[in-house]
């Protein structure tokens, strides 16, 4: 593995995902917030207002660039053009963190715009590690890998998901972006215990935490399936799981993600303050 430069990391505070609809207001008001996260693919353009706005954000806030399309879980090679575009973005904005997903989104020249699930096999494990190695070497930095939210599992899978993730982290040297909502969603959908799942992940490698809201559907028997929609407030069970995570590993850079049913910026900022207050020492937390 190549020696990778350690970036200055994100502060252990809450941040928000910055959406186009909020960006003008955000830049006018410059709210006190720990960091800002954007999706890489929204900024892989040649020029214009988006890049100018990102420049302004970067001048005033620690930045996390979150990729959704590298397709690290693909059977096929990574896309060279995409790697080049990502590198240009990362070199230009020097974010404190770059993260991607344990998922795939492209196959045979088609881009599906979703984070699709993998079979957990030794062969796939090796492939994912190679892809992360390649991305880390190309960007010249360590990346964080986000645990997935899943709705199905495959007959062909032979390794438990948490073992697969832990092994990827160990072999590639990447960090973990622990998405607490994804843990909850996946575990409810797969019939696993969220606490056991969380405990089985390499907690020492966590470099950022994501919190988001899910939506749910019920079947005829009243069983729930949870959908990682990012279109609701963070659920109580997810806040509680997050609290138990903080109890174990202390304050973490924590992103409030919201993509659908976008509320006012002030609502997202209030949610971020909620996460900040959980990161306060207990005596301060209860005094607020």
């Amino acid at each position: 593995m190549t020696a990778l430069a350690q970036q200055k990391s994100l502060p252990s505070r809450a941040g928000i995902g910055l959406k186009f609809r909020h960006i003008d207001q955000f830049l006018r008001e410059m709210p006190d917030i720990g960091f800002v996260e954007v999706h890489a693919e929204n900024y892989l353009v040649e020029g214009g207002i988006r890049l100018a706005q990102l420049e302004a954000v970067r001048e005033n806030y620690p930045l996390s660039i979150h990729g959704v399309a590298a397709s690290l879980g693909s059977e096929a090679e990574l896309n060279d053009d995409h790697l080049r575009r990502l590198k240009r973005l990362v070199d230009r904005y020097q974010p404190q963190s770059f993260s991607e997903h344990l998922a795939w989104s492209s196959h045979a020249g088609v881009y599906y715009n979703d984070l699709l699930p993998l079979t957990y096999t030794q062969e796939r494990l090796q492939r994912v590690v190679e892809h992360i190695d390649q991305l880390q070497s190309y960007l010249g930095r360590r990346i964080l890998l986000e645990n997935p939210s899943t709705y199905v599992s495959f007959e062909a899978s032979e390794i438990p998901e948490t073992v697969f993730i832990a092994e990827v982290v160990k072999r590639s040297g990447c960090g973990l972006l622990m998405d607490v909502n994804n843990i909850y969603v996946t575990c409810i959908n797969q019939g696993w215990s969220p606490d056991e799942y969380m405990a089985a992940l390499p907690l020492g490698a966590v470099g950022e935490v994501h919190l988001a809201g899910y939506t749910e559907e019920l079947d005829a028997q009243g069983n729930r399936v949870l959908i990682d929609s990012h279109s609701a407030e963070v659920a109580d069970e997810v806040w509680q799981l997050y609290q138990r995570l903080l109890d174990q590993i202390g304050p973490q850079p924590t992103l409030l993600e919201r993509d659908g049913a976008l509320p006012e910026l002030s609502v997202l900022l209030a949610e971020a303050r909620g996460a900040d207050s959980l990161m306060q020492p207990e005596e301060v937390r209860y005094a607020v």
């Binding site: 693919e41 020029g47 214009g48 207002i49 059977e75 995409h82 196959h107 881009y111 715009n113 007959e155």
Partner: protein, 250 residues
């Protein structure tokens, strides 16, 4: 497995379901449908974001139907969804059910070009040089120009630009608009917003000549007498489209 799942996302899932584990609750089909819905919904939303006027013109329901057909027939090739839809206009043109509205394909073409111009490379206009050249007619006539990447000229068979412009108001009113007439557009991005100028045919021809590399003297050959050269250069200056000048030595 990826190939079966990929096929199932936009087509038949017969090959996929047997590869999925039997879940505790919800059948495999309903679980897989979550992925399928995510893919379709997110791509429909991407097209809606890129083609808001088409969406408004044909209505939400027809737009979803059209977008679904397009996604199945021409799924995105790259993750840059602002580039998805380069063939949406051509697709609209082939739809029999939309043949009563032949201007729609051109409206889509205008919307896509505006998007391209919005995200085109940042460049610096040579306005000072142009002003200096204007004081020396001989040099000006012998000059040709480079254009910013955000610049595009579009000849339209229908009044698609006027339709687009009408939809920038909250209550667009197309009644009384003659749509069966040609329009000639200059699209540019003088600051951060892409702009549309409606040109007359002479000005369009003139700018087209300049874009193809002609000097001003040569470009003037294609226009009628009385062409407003000063007005046109003023427009090119305001729209910040000229990014380089080449003076013909001869």
């Amino acid at each position: 497995m990826q190939s079966e799942l990929a096929t199932a996302l936009l087509g038949s899932n017969e090959g996929l379901l047997p590869l999925l584990s039997e879940p505790l609750s919800f059948d495999r089909q309903r679980r897989f449908d979550i992925y399928r819905n995510n893919v379709q919904q997110s791509l429909i939303e991407a097209l809606e974001a890129s083609f808001p006027v088409i969406h408004e013109l044909i209505g939400a329901e027809a737009f979803v139907t059209l977008a679904n057909l397009f996604i199945r027939s021409q799924p995105p090739k790259s993750p840059y969804l602002v580039e998805y839809g380069d063939r949406f206009s051509n697709f609209i043109e082939t739809r029999v059910e939309l043949s009563d509205y032949p201007f729609l394909a051109e409206v889509a073409k205008v919307e896509y070009q505006l998007l391209r111009s919005t995200h085109a490379a940042d460049e610096v206009a040579i306005n000072d040089q142009l002003v200096a050249l204007a004081s020396d007619p001989d040099r000006l006539l012998a000059s040709g120009f480079k254009f910013a990447a955000a610049t595009a000229l579009m000849p339209l068979r229908y009044a698609a630009a006027s339709i687009w412009l009408a939809h920038q108001k909250s209550a667009p009113n197309l009644s009384g608009m003659e749509v069966n007439r040609s329009e000639w557009l200059l699209i540019s991005r003088p600051s951060f917003r892409a702009e549309i100028d409606l040109l007359d045919f002479d000005e369009f021809q003139f700018v087209a000549q300049l874009i193809s590399g002609a000097t001003i003297a040569k470009a003037l050959d294609v226009v009628a007498e009385g062409f407003d050269l000063t007005g046109c250069l003023h427009r090119l200056l305001i729209r910040q489209v000229l990014t380089g000048v080449e003076e013909d030595e001869c």
